[in-house]
Symmetry: C2
Subunit: 310 residues, 2 copies
DNA sequence: GTAATATATGAAACGGGTACCACATCAAGT
DNA sequence: ACTTGATGTGGTACCCGTTTCATATATTAC
């Protein structure tokens, strides 16, 4: 494998000058450029990116920590992330966490070990506080409101829209709301925001609730659970349109009347089935998160979310 | 930033011995291990992954070249890829190509420059032949039948199922088939396989066809185009369930009777709308492709695809 | 008792670039 | 004529590990 030293030797110039040709930087005569270029082509030489990364102390890799690809917002978020990354010459490395704290910590360690220039936590299991300690090793971005923590963040302003949504539901006369969430209130910002909004509007904690729902099938199964309860829901508030679609299917399959519903993420299923939804604009969140990752700024970028009535 | 040399100096041992502690390899006394471990902890030292990669000549990164995240098979494929990668400690780097040959070539060059250990082409714009030249720089896997080329491949056996599907459609009495593809026959294996199967069953080239369809919206728009034709389709053969759903919506919106349809990829939309589909088992293709990437074997792994009648 | 082998450690080359600094020219400015 | 600044190039430290080879001591085997 030929390296920059070989090119230097063969061309009769120094490695510094060869490096200048490669990077098109600094003072350089046309003579030198041409001669070196010729040798480079003859030898079919290309510089080694890893060596370059080591020397520059920068990898142009950004790690994206995500629980799993089944997560409702995955598609939108990743699209936004990739658009910005691609435009700026950065690489997107997908890091599945399964919401496992050990795994998330491993990724933080990898940041420290210089595997990535930055990490974007699209969701997380470990406490925000823990992220703080790793900021000195590279920028860390979270996709939620970090509150008082000085952590870069791009996130959807969900509370307001959740409240708007529940008010809308209440005004329509629904009072037995079945709520579907992906994780328990204690461990998920999303869940606690949702429930806080519910409580603000309804003035009580929800009775009909399931906190381990992510997919269509989960939504379906959750309805089976609700049917065993004494209280049956007259409205389903789901954490994704796909989930809502699964819930709906349960009622259809069991020849029960389908309650009104609302989904989230503006997924295709909601569009097809005409289920109202909340679009958290995760595509935009993804773009902004990646911009923060690249710039290294520690600031908060809230993004409006939107209730789509149908 | 402390490095291995600092640890060596502070502990009174050589870098070789420190390296042995880090990698838990070779002969090593307990005394040395303990002393060095202590210094490592005191200094809060972690080795630099980039330096390690350079030294070892391996990155544990696998690049995934994909046209864009809107592609119907994206979700399934990426899930399979990530599962295997995660299990084996590899990193998945997403590389959007937009089917642009220049961009695809850039990724091949990056393989040569050691940015990745392997590349998986989930789809491609450049000719297969071009991939051959880069195999010496790392394993290259394609997700289609490479024919006579000696290229590692994990791919769905689509022809048989396409033929089965068209026969099924024909037996049901449909003769004016509107075909939706993502790319023209000349530049896409998928398209040419689809059309070859159609022709084998119907004995003629299709008249109603659109070759730039990828999304729900594209499907919708394509129907508007078909409606302008003299020949109206009595069956829509779409390249994805989401696309079929878009097509269906066009008819609904325009109060036309919805023709029978078939989708592909076994997407949620097809399930919801009860549209028959072809499941190409891309999840499995993803797993196998990543296994090939890691093992470096140059072999073909065909995977059965499946017609799902509904 | 001595050769053979296992154990422990270090020196230094190697992987392959980048970038700072020194040095040498040469032309323009005063 | 002399200073100054632009231009061109080289030397070399630096980024940070891994790994081979040599050396030294401790066991074990015969």
């Amino acid at each position: 494998m030929t390296n920059i030293h070989d090119i230097a030797r063969l061309s009769g110039y120094s490695v510094s000058t060869v490096s200048r040709v490669l990077n098109n930087s600094g003072y350089l005569s046309d003579t030198a450029r041409n001669k070196i270029q010729k040798i480079i082509e003859e030898q079919d030489y290309v510089p080694n990116d890893v060596a370059r990364d080591l020397s520059r102390g920068k990898t142009y890799n950004v790690g994206i920590v995500l629980p799993h690809t089944k997560h409702p917002y995955f598609t939108h978020l990743i699209k936004g992330i990739m658009e910005t990354a691609f435009a700026k010459g950065y690489h997107v490395v997908l890091l599945p966490s399964l919401y496992n704290a050990d795994i998330e910590n491993q990724y933080l360690e990898q940041l420290r070990r210089k595997s990535y220039d930055a990490l974007i936590f699209t969701s997380r299991g470990i406490p925000l506080k823990r992220l703080l300690k790793y900021q000195k090793y590279g920028s860390i971005i979270c996709c939620e409101n970090p509150g008082d923590y000085q952590i870069a963040a791009a996130y959807s302003l969900r509370s307001k829209t959740f409240t708007e949504a529940f008010s809308y539901v209440k005004n329509q006369g629904y009072h037995e709301i079945g709520i579907l969430l992906s994780r328990p209130r204690e461990s998920s910002t999303t869940s606690s925001l949702t429930l806080a909004s519910y409580e603000a509007v309804y003035g009580a904690t929800p009775k009909i609730i399931n906190t381990s729902v992510t997919t269509y099938q989960d939504g379906y199964n959750a309805m089976a659970g609700f049917q065993k309860n004494e209280k049956k829901p007259d409205f389903i508030f789901a954490n994704g349109d796909d989930v809502a679609a699964g819930a709906r299917q349960y009622y259809l399959d069991n020849e029960l009347s389908v309650p009104a519903m609302m989904g989230q993420e503006n997924q295709l299923s909601g569009n097809i089935l005409n289920i109202p939804t909340i679009d958290h604009h995760f595509h935009e969140v993804g773009r902004k998160a990646m911009e923060l990752a690249i710039s290294g700024e520690i600031k908060m970028i809230p993004i409006n979310s939107e209730l789509i009535k149908r």
